[in-house]
């Protein structure tokens, strides 16, 4: 009998799932609104943004899968749940991630990276021990290894090509007549499908990106880091919005002493070096956590709450820029005729701000949000290095880079952890940047003039 697990909704899970819901609602909303649909069409009319959105969607998919958490019920008569929290992604990667090697192993290796005492024909001697998972199915590794890798790569490529073809067909059918650059999207999807196919196929028998110092699979860590990056990128920007929007619009609309006070507040906040302020807040949070250990049941809840608080701190300390922008915009908007007319009709200030000013600054919010998303993913790495980032037990790009620092000075070099973090992070940030550019172009007509025009029509 299958024993029902206990589902756990961590704070950041709620955020990721809420974001998913918000996205669905927003898409539904946009579909019904002609002018918004036209603007978003402009976003996707850029091939770069189209391709980037495919990458971002895939990353978000991984994040969602890693945000459905549960604690399996332990076998036995009593109802006892595992102290560890698993996610759906963990369950899907159970084959690779479930088996831990003892220490470093190179990508696709069948033996450990470091020598150890090995028993060969009943005699102990120094050698490279076989891995528990990687290549464990091989009987005579030196002869079989290359063939096995080639076979698995081939199978993976074939599977990936099939998915890519299906995907391209679906894309073509859905968007072929819309005039959007669907081929770019399909091509990006195809490349990802091929890479994914090879990875999945190889991961059945090997650690595709090797293992780290404690023997954990690097690919699994990189995938789990994607979720951390998404949480930080989205939650921290969302957390800035209430203060930035509320105070920014209020300052611009009311002017006078309200404006002075709000200006003072954000000048105060932005005058403190950002890293220091965040570090100070995080240090305080740590002390608070140490004092109240009964706030969380499991280690996962603790590290999750820490991530949540980190994002809140990033939000509470990072609203100054957007606030300044919105204040300036509101100062302009409030002098426009329709606002003056609304005032003359006796519409109250709160209603004017909500109905007439807010909708006209939403595009600024959106642009800032997508731009901040990239910046925050990069920032997380620095914060983790400084020691005020996410909990060390949680996979994150910053943590991976941090470990990689000492690995790169080993001899021979342990490069795979670093390379994996680099590859995943650059792909994600680059995609986010390109998408942000597309959004900025579509929503802010002023920015469009500065795009490089690739090929002028030659006379």
């Amino acid at each position: 009998m299958m024993m029902a697990p206990k589902f756990v909704l961590l704070w950041t899970d709620a955020v990721i799932l809420g974001l998913l819901l918000l996205g669905v609602v927003y898409v539904w909303h946009v579909r019904r609104d002609v002018s918004r649909r036209a603007t978003w069409r402009r976003v996707f009319a850029s091939p770069a943004a189209m391709g980037a959105s495919v990458v971002l969607l895939a990353g978000f998919g991984v994040a969602v899968l890693d945000s459905l958490h549960y604690r399996p019920r332990l076998p036995g008569p009593q109802v006892v749940y595992d102290a560890r929290t698993h996610s759906v992604l963990d369950a899907m990667l159970a084959g690779v991630g479930g088996v831990r090697e003892t220490s470093y192993s190179a990508p696709l290796a069948y033996q450990a990276f470091a020598q150890d005492a090995v028993e060969v024909n009943g005699v102990l001697q120094r050698g490279y021990p076989r891995l528990l998972y990687g290549g464990a199915h091989l009987t005579a590794p030196p002869q079989q290894w290359a063939g096995d890798i080639a076979w698995r790569t081939g199978v993976g490529l074939a599977g990936g090509a099939l998915v890519a073809a299906l995907g391209a067909w679906a894309w073509g059918a859905a968007l072929g007549r819309s005039g959007l650059p669907w081929r770019t999207g399909a091509a990006v999807f195809g490349v990802m499908a091929l890479a994914g196919g090879v990875a999945v196929s190889l991961a059945q028998g090997y650690h595709v990106f090797g293992t780290d110092r404690t023997g954990n699979d690097v690919l699994v860590q990189a995938l789990k880091s994607v979720r951390t990056a998404f949480v930080i990128g989205s939650l921290a920007t969302l957390a800035t919005l209430p203060l930035a929007v509320g105070l920014g619009i209020a300052a611009g609309y009311f002017k006078g002493w309200v404006d002075e006070l709000i200006q003072y507040l954000y000048t105060l906040l932005s005058s403190i070096p950002n890293v220091l302020l965040i570090a100070a807040c995080v240090l305080m949070m740590q002390v608070f956590f140490d004092k109240n250990p009964d706030l969380f049941e499991t280690a996962a809840e603790r590290s999750d709450l820490r991530l949540f608080m980190l994002c809140t701190i990033l939000g509470l300390t990072g609203w100054a820029g957007l606030c300044r922008l919105l204040r300036a915009e509101t100062l302009k908007l409030r002098e426009l005729d329709y606002v003056q007319a609304a005032e003359a009709f006796g519409v109250g200030p709160w209603r004017i701000m909500a109905r007439h000013i807010f909708p006209n600054v939403v595009h600024l919010m959106l642009i800032t949000t997508v731009l901040d998303f990239c910046a925050l993913i990069l920032y997380e790495a620095v914060l983790s290095y400084v020691g005020v980032g996410v909990d060390p037990s949680m996979s994150s790009f910053g943590g991976m880079i941090n470990l990689a620092r000492s690995e790169m000075s080993r001899d021979p070099v342990v490069w795979w952890s670093f390379a994996a973090a680099f590859g995943f992070m650059v792909t994600l940030v680059l995609a986010a940047n390109l998408f942000a550019d597309g959004v900025q172009d579509a929503f802010d007509p002023r920015a469009r003039a500065f795009r490089p025009r690739p090929l002028p029509a030659k006379a």
Partner: protein, 327 residues
């Protein structure tokens, strides 16, 4: 002008008082001196006597905001808040919280010199490199060079600065053995240690800045005076350097100015990665050692520098643009 500067300085003092109150609230109210003492003494069982002794040594044994035991003005002055704030304002930073208890003021002045050695050349080269790269892109606008240049910029700004450092250290120090991996030596010898961090820091910010400056130049280049300059037969190079660059100086100063406080504080990450004993490394040590006195001092210094550099930026505006009058 003098009037304006004085008013700005007055506002700066107001901001500093605010910063001081904010950090005091963060460091002394969110967790009390008792918690700090426990954290610093360490160990599982810490007795109240130990905590009291630790607090007395650092002057944290008085009430935080209001001393009810005293009367009159002393109710306010005989408190931790008053004592800490006044000493910060007078640049007497006191001793750090950690066991070694070094004098912060002495340490800061010693490390400031090192930080400046890294930061000043970096700042100058940074602006020069970004502006020239952006000018190059603008010169070749609407061509393949511009397109791929912008692609390169976007790629470069998508890479975390930590990657530049790790790859740079690996390649230049370990493989090519051109410069030492990390460390610092005073005097002329410092060049050997500083050149790699400078180059890498330059690269890590080039993408962001060059793209920004490119947009600024393109905004200027569409204006009428540029057309006039071209119409009177000036070469494109002359137009770019004599006219466009000059008129784009204001946004360049704004963007470079926002970076100034970090110049003084040192690049946190770069200093600590390369083992350069500057202020940035000091901050990171303090954070990892949970030394609140140092962090509080650096927050204070940092916001002071921010205020000072914004004042400098404003003065620079009025120098480069005669239309700007400070009043």
């Amino acid at each position: 002008m003098i009037h304006y500067i004085l008013r700005r300085l007055g506002y700066g003092v107001l901001i500093l008082i605010g910063v001081n109150l904010l950090t005091f609230f963060l460091f002394f109210t969110v967790n009390t001196p008792d918690d700090m003492a426990r954290l610093n003494i360490g160990g599982k069982r810490v007795t109240q006597e130990q905590i009291d002794k630790w607090k007395a040594e650092r002057g944290y044994d008085r009430p935080l905001y209001l001393n009810r035991a005293e009367s009159g003005v002393k109710q306010v002055t005989e408190t931790v808040l008053w004592e800490r704030s006044v000493s910060l304002m007078l640049f007497q930073f006191g001793r750090s919280d950690s066991a070694r208890s070094a004098d912060i003021g002495h340490e800061v002045s010693k490390r400031m010199v090192v930080s400046l050695q890294l930061a000043v050349p970096l700042f100058i080269l940074q602006v020069m490199a970004s502006v020239s790269f952006a000018l190059l892109l603008v010169f070749f606008r609407h061509t393949r060079i511009d397109f791929w240049g912008v692609v390169l910029c976007v790629l470069m700004l998508s890479i975390s600065s930590l990657f530049y450092i790790i790859v740079g250290q690996f390649f230049f120090s370990r493989v090519l053995r051109l410069v030492p991996i990390s460390g610092y030596a005073p005097g002329l010898d410092a060049v050997r240690f500083l050149i790699l961090p400078i180059v890498l820091s330059l690269l890590s910010r080039l993408g962001t800045e060059a793209r920004l400056y490119r947009a600024m130049f393109l905004e200027e280049i569409g204006k009428d005076y540029v057309r006039t300059a071209r119409a009177k037969g000036l070469s494109e190079i002359r137009v770019l350097f004599r006219h466009v660059l000059k008129n784009a100086l204001i946004p360049i100063i704004t963007s470079a100015g926002s970076y100034l406080p970090y110049v003084f504080l040192g690049s946190l990450v770069f200093e600590s990665f390369f083992g350069i004993p500057g202020l940035g490394a000091y901050v990171i040590e303090a954070i990892s050692g949970q030394d609140f006195a140092i962090v509080r001092t650096m927050v204070f210094l940092g916001s002071m520098l921010y205020i000072a550099s914004y004042l400098l930026v404003d003065i620079a505006y009025s120098v480069v643009d005669p239309r700007v009058r400070l009043q």
